[in-house]
Symmetry: C2
Subunit: 361 residues, 2 copies
């Protein structure tokens, strides 16, 4: 398999062999799993830049170093002995919706499935950094994973930094558990970062080192990847928190090959989830005519401040025919999903309304 389409460009044509290789190994959450408060392991989305490392927990250590008073070296047992917390937290890949853009940015070709909610268990990062003693002048915290690869012709471990104030937020966790069990290998065993409200690339997996920096990190994933730009030569702006979004469980039943949906002409409940990195969900609206008219859905409370919110809508298709179901959410600070996709070269944060054609008979 070969292709002449390089990453970092956009393409109006069909999916390339490289994009297919990415799609075959990374996986989305089938949208019927929006019915679960907490996504079962194996249905939660996964985006893995390089290979899943196989980590021996008995020899693994977390190093905390850089601009700190007391560098730390901690075993998994050391971390488990600390005060732990658990929370339901929704993750979404920054590239969710990328394959619906035109032209399509070349990378993991997500349609709409790059989302999931886990019950994450671990230790608050702020308390650990307090133990290490944050040095005066520290401005960022750098997280380094054990996964290695090449990106933009740079060989690298996967590394992302956070501004110090964001890293010290009291809901930021170093998680060693998911959904009541240990972290599965593909979710970062033995330890990963969890930053509620931010897009998934923030949550560094297979964490091996936390480094306090006294100047901003200039590595690939912050300075070149995950930036909003329309031209490769722009500096761009950082991708950070999740844009407001709602998704529905597609009604009816699918055709295997075409994924077309067929539903009955009877009253039925449409259900879905909505979330935003900027606050709670204020409202969800549903349309069955492609967005020409909208009606309010019933939005339920979340299981925690960083978990998606369930919504339901009593749909009464009037007659047999073709419908286009859409949903759009508005968050508590007034952000609403747009009708048309916002475009950028990385294909990030496309939170345009979901459109589900349904044949009613």
């Amino acid at each position: 398999m070969s292709s002449t389409i390089p990453p970092g460009t956009a393409e109006a044509g069909a999916i390339s062999p490289q994009e297919l290789l990415l799609a075959a190994r990374n996986h989305g959450m089938p949208l019927e799993a929006l019915a679960y408060d907490v996504t079962p392991v194996g249905m939660h989305y996964l985006l893995i830049h390089y290979d899943v490392p196989r980590v021996d927990a008995s020899s693994w250590r977390l190093e905390v170093d850089g601009h700190v008073a007391h560098p730390l070296s901690l075993s998994l047992d050391d971390l488990r002995a600390r005060e732990t917390v658990s929370a339901d937290i929704t993750f979404e890949c920054a590239g969710n919706g990328r394959a619906l853009l035109d032209p399509r940015p070349i990378s993991q070709p997500w349609v709409l499935e790059a989302v999931g909610t886990g019950t994450w268990t671990g230790v608050p990062l702020a308390a650990l950094l307090a133990d290490a003693g944050i040095g005066d002048g520290a401005v960022e915290v750098l997280f380094t994973g054990l996964d290695r690869g090449v990106e933009g012709e740079v060989e690298q471990a996967y590394q992302r930094s956070l501004p110090l104030a964001d890293a010290l937020a009291d809901d930021v966790l170093l998680a060693f558990g998911m959904n009541g069990g240990p972290l599965p290998p593909q979710h970062g065993f033995p330890l990963r970062l969890v930053v509620p409200g931010w897009y998934g690339m923030t949550n560094v997996k297979w964490l091996s080192r936390i480094t306090l920096l006294d100047e901003p990190f200039t590595g690939y994933q912050n300075a070149r990847g995950y930036r909003f730009r329309r031209d490769p030569d722009e500096e761009g702006t950082a991708v950070t928190r999740m844009a407001v979004r709602s998704l529905m469980v597609p009604p009816g039943i699918p055709d295997f090959g075409t994924r077309r949906r067929f539903a009955e002409a009877t009253a039925q409940v449409i259900e879905g989830r909505a979330w935003s990195g900027a606050g709670a969900i204020e409202s969800v609206e549903v349309s069955d005519d492609g967005g020409a008219t909208w009606q309010a859905a019933n939005v339920e409370p979340a299981s925690g401040p960083h978990a998606w919110q369930r919504w339901t809508f009593d749909w009464r298709p009037g007659a047999a025919g073709e419908y286009e179901l859409c949903c759009r959410a508005t968050d508590s600070v007034g952000n609403r999903q747009p009708a048309d996709p916002p475009w950028n070269l990385g294909g990030y944060a496309n939170n345009a309304v979901q459109r589900v054609p349904v044949a009613v008979a």
Copy 2:
């Protein structure tokens, strides 16, 4: 997203939007997971024709009916109270390798990742059928899942039949457990069929009914889907047992966007797995020159009669440059993987040798 490429045809061009929708929800096993004897939940491949049903185990029943003396209706507790067995069993999708065919049959566009090994726990089917009393003249056993959809313009529950003699093999299980826990929803909760040695479509998930038939089943998945044919009008022959295959963990590290591999010019161990539905693995050979020359790998015993076998190979790349690593297995009855893909309209059983280009520096 729309496309003019219908399922059931083949296409020389790039991946269609419908194929991408399939690739986004079904998922392969990242090949580095070949390093595990038992594939962790969430890394095992999944091929789901319709939607994952959400099943209430407290009201769920397994019905055993048709050509039997004593129809049965069993709860999950009834099944758990029976004598149970556990075994490591390798599954592979019949369509694994489909996207490497030219022209490419239109369906789930697997590259090479549609494989995994689970520890499956459940009750032997033969003992259950003996309790029901198999009627004289029964010829097939039909398995019906709770998942519904449309395929080939036929609305259907997912159903597959097995010849009676195959269903009565002493290693066929009705499984309610995977890898030490309950079945995850996406693997068929609360109960699925497990038929060792056969391609994955045999292992009906979300099982609700087992029906003894006194004539062969003529439903879609046996009579139209999963048949070897080169022309849509042929009757074709049934897809049954897994062809012999070996796969390797790609050496070195990947480029995120291109998936190109980079390795160091030092001695290193290549590892992989091999399996066959026709018997044990007799040998695995490795080539680093695209199949021009081959050397024997070391093949280890399996953890059970139906689990893949680990193999290792000491690779000593002579110098920096471009290599093409290949592996091929031969099973105990003499089947060997071909150099070139066998082609059929469904894209089934493409067991051609894996080819992994590696840049050594």
